[in-house]
Symmetry: C2
Subunit: 480 residues, 2 copies
């Protein structure tokens, strides 16, 4: 019997948090942080607000202090000091979350991971690499360029790898390469008691015990702080072709999408834009696409394979009345197309100047996708919203983004009500309230609708034993 | 604040089990089971021994009773009755485990899932299906035949889907299609308190909360009893080609394997057999392969794609001195090849009549595979073992199977010592003690070597809160 087993194991009662730390508690906390961290500690109002800042309609809740961690040991020290002061700890990657993940609802310390941005190892033969959590995905791919390998997960924003793991991110390439769940091999995590935990070996597969890797992936900083990530890499395809294809309506585009998936075509990207979104992209990205529902596609493979795939897609599209199917053969054209896709957030703002997109993120079984999108379009029309739609339709995941005047409570309320209807529509189709953005702060009640009480109870038990004092990103994912 | 959150949540102390139930306790337990289950309860010695039976060197430990469950409600009722009697519960699928998973170390009730063998739904458009846990994988694929879809995970044995999920099984197709971790979309699980928990929606991806699906996959019946599984399906490839290719030594075969993987060739199967294993297959399966280290391969795709892939593999093999590369073009030849591969367990017995294989299952980063296999071959020679090797080498996973006289304790001890050295070799290369068989009963101390104390502590915490009374398959995966 080993030592750990001999220790009685008693967990605390569930610990909810109310309000923020008192000024005295903040002073004591920052005093200890300053002694340990020197100028890695920043408490200026501007930096604190920036670390609570989120690209959402959710009110900013700044942390009491920000630590710019430079090492896993720094993360351990923050956890240790915060535990002593009963202060919340909120990991901060690139701040590109759309669900208020980094907002410090109950104050505490934001751990900014941006200085932990090194690639620690590239194992080209094993198609993997080990990186610090603060590294951004674009920087990773730039540094991988000479290896012939790349990291495919692409949520649009230049997110940090740790943040992407924490939110189980995916994006345009997921239909072929999977999500973060499929591309994280192992993690180094700092837990609430300040332990450093490595979740798995570098073996490609294992049946040795509980899958802690996947338990931390998507846990949004509530079970531990991801410090290092071992990622699966992929060979840069020999050939890439991309193109766009208009359809007479959204249903035809969806039908063509799932015929494509079912036929086994290994499409790398298949993205839907509705006519309104195409219009916004034309405005913002200076394109001249026909303002109709549209699929953007990309194929990866050998030259022959890509040619075969694109020809077959063209045939499938034609069966559903789609076309013409225009191919961007030059890399610059391809880049322009995908840049436009990635800029939809900004492009959508041209549709209602002064307003900002209210992000939504449902995902349904792809057989229900056309129904879900069409019903949603009727809802948008009925509610009088300006709300373009984009979707990772190969996965059944789409985003409707009502343009909202963030200064107008009635406008926000209208968007929230629409978002509720959208989520319920997706749940009724056996879908999920979030395909890739995560739960964060304001989707907690949708999670409670998505899962049964018994399922939620298991999730709460996990939270309970990983973080008995509710120090780790409190107020996110679950109501305790 | 919802109701669940209002309930104080206190977990018990960690609960180890010693010995078996007393005769009086067994009598009381079986009395209650008989009243509830009638002839679904079987307590005959033969059936009990068969349910403890495992294809291993581990001593048989029969349960006190077997319930042939016909529904999820039956499973709930077993759990309820066992909890009242503090009796262990051991789920039983097909009994093909190689690590003593179904052995009833502390007695209790084996839940035989074989009557829960229905396909509940096939969603062809969504490429998924919902099945009861007791369905065997071959029966699933037979019933899917008319849909043009198939379930690719193939561990060799005709295992049950629930057992495959519980052990995170994989096998020959994993290099292309992933493991059970990648092909389970959602589970229905009966937990230790008798709740029925559905872990996820049918959406292809989700970021809504903790990944309970992946937490139950690979948990070997220690966290809950899997009752239903939603599986990802794949389109039957238009064309399949298979072949075999001899090499001058194991290193060349390994080098050709990782050159193939790195080149991005989407090989569906790439299996290593060492010369001794080839000899055994020739004996048993009446083949006439050259008795040299050998790769068996399979490619899936379009006719053109498969032809391109096979040609490229032939070129890669030649670079490493391999060949000739012989293709089985007719389906019968292909079937014969893979049947021989699947029969290696039986074939190996021809090498030492009366002896049985002692299963091992390490997995290392593929860059270390040749080193690991070569060092192991030297070890085999030095130890004077007869031990053929097969490997899912595209994943870095291989099995060495010393032929052991299971009646001879000294012979078993020699194999155990060899197995320990093999595991330590793999761990030193950042590999895992089990790539796909699972931990079961006798690999617990290897799991303790593979993970740090802090990591093991997290796993124990999970076990603790999911099963505070240690009712679920006690004595497996972790020492409490």
């Amino acid at each position: 019997m080993n030592e750990a087993a001999a220790t009685p194991f008693v967990t605390h009662l569930r610990r909810r948090r109310e309000g923020r730390l008192s000024p005295a508690a903040v002073a004591a906390l920052t005093g200890d942080l300053a002694a340990c961290f020197g100028d890695k500690l920043v408490t200026s109002q501007a930096v604190r607000v920036q670390h609570g800042h989120t690209l959402t309609w959710i009110a900013n809740a700044p942390p009491d202090a920000v630590i710019f961690a430079a090492s896993t040991q720094d993360v351990v020290d923050v956890v240790r000091i915060c535990a002593e002061h009963d202060a919340p700890i909120i990991p901060f990657g690139a701040g590109t979350s759309l669900e208020g993940h980094v907002n410090a609802l109950h104050g505490g310390v934001s751990i900014d991971m941006s200085r932990m941005d090194r690639i620690l190892a590239v194992h080209a033969e094993d198609l993997d690499c080990v990186v610090e959590a603060g590294l951004h995905r674009k920087a990773l791919n730039e540094q991988l360029r000479d290896t012939g390998l790349f990291f495919p997960i692409d949520p649009g924003a230049d997110a940090s790898i740790g943040g992407m793991a924490a939110t189980r991110a995916s994006g345009t390439n997921a239909v072929r390469y999977g999500t973060m769940k499929d591309n994280v091999i192992s993690l180094v995590v700092v837990t609430a008691d300040g332990s450093i935990v490595r979740t798995a070996s570098r073996a490609k597969k294992s049946s040795a015990g509980y899958d802690l890797t996947r338990l931390f992936v998507g846990s949004e900083g509530t079970l531990g702080i991801i410090a290092e990530v071992t990622l699966r890499l992929h060979g840069v395809p020999e050939a890439i072709s991309a193109g766009h294809c208009p359809f007479k309506d959204v249903r035809s585009a969806c039908d063509a999408t799932f015929a494509t998936i079912q036929s086994g075509l290994p499409v790398a990207r298949i993205e839907l834009l509705d006519a309104l979104q195409v219009k916004a992209c034309n405005n913002y990205s200076k394109l001249s696409l026909p303002e109709a529902p549209m699929l953007f596609l990309e194929f990866h493979g050998t030259s022959a394979g890509v040619a075969e795939q694109s020809q077959r897609f063209g045939e499938i599209a034609a069966e559903f009345g789609g076309g013409p199917f225009a191919w961007a053969t030059r890399p610059e054209e391809r880049t322009r197309l995908w840049q436009a896709r990635h800029d939809v957030y900004w492009a959508s703002m041209t549709l209602r100047p002064g307003a900002r997109p209210f992000a939504t993120d449902v995902c349904v079984p792809i057989s229900r996708l056309a129904d879900c999108v069409e019903e949603t379009q009727r809802d948008v029309a009925q509610a009088g919203l300006v709300a373009p739609i984009v979707g990772h339709v190969g996965d059944g995941n789409f985003h409707v983004s009502p343009l909202v005047d963030m200064e107008d409570p009635a406008d926000i309320e209208r968007a929230e009500a629409f978002s509720s209807r959208l989520v319920r529509r997706a749940l009724a189709m056996d879908g999920t309230c979030t395909g890739e953005h995560g739960v964060g702060q304001k989707k907690i009640h949708y999670v409670e609708e998505e899962y049964s009480a018994a399922t939620l109870d298991l999730m709460r038990r996990v939270k309970q034993v990983f973080d008995p004092d509710n120090l780790l990103n409190p107020g996110k994912i679950l109501r305790l």
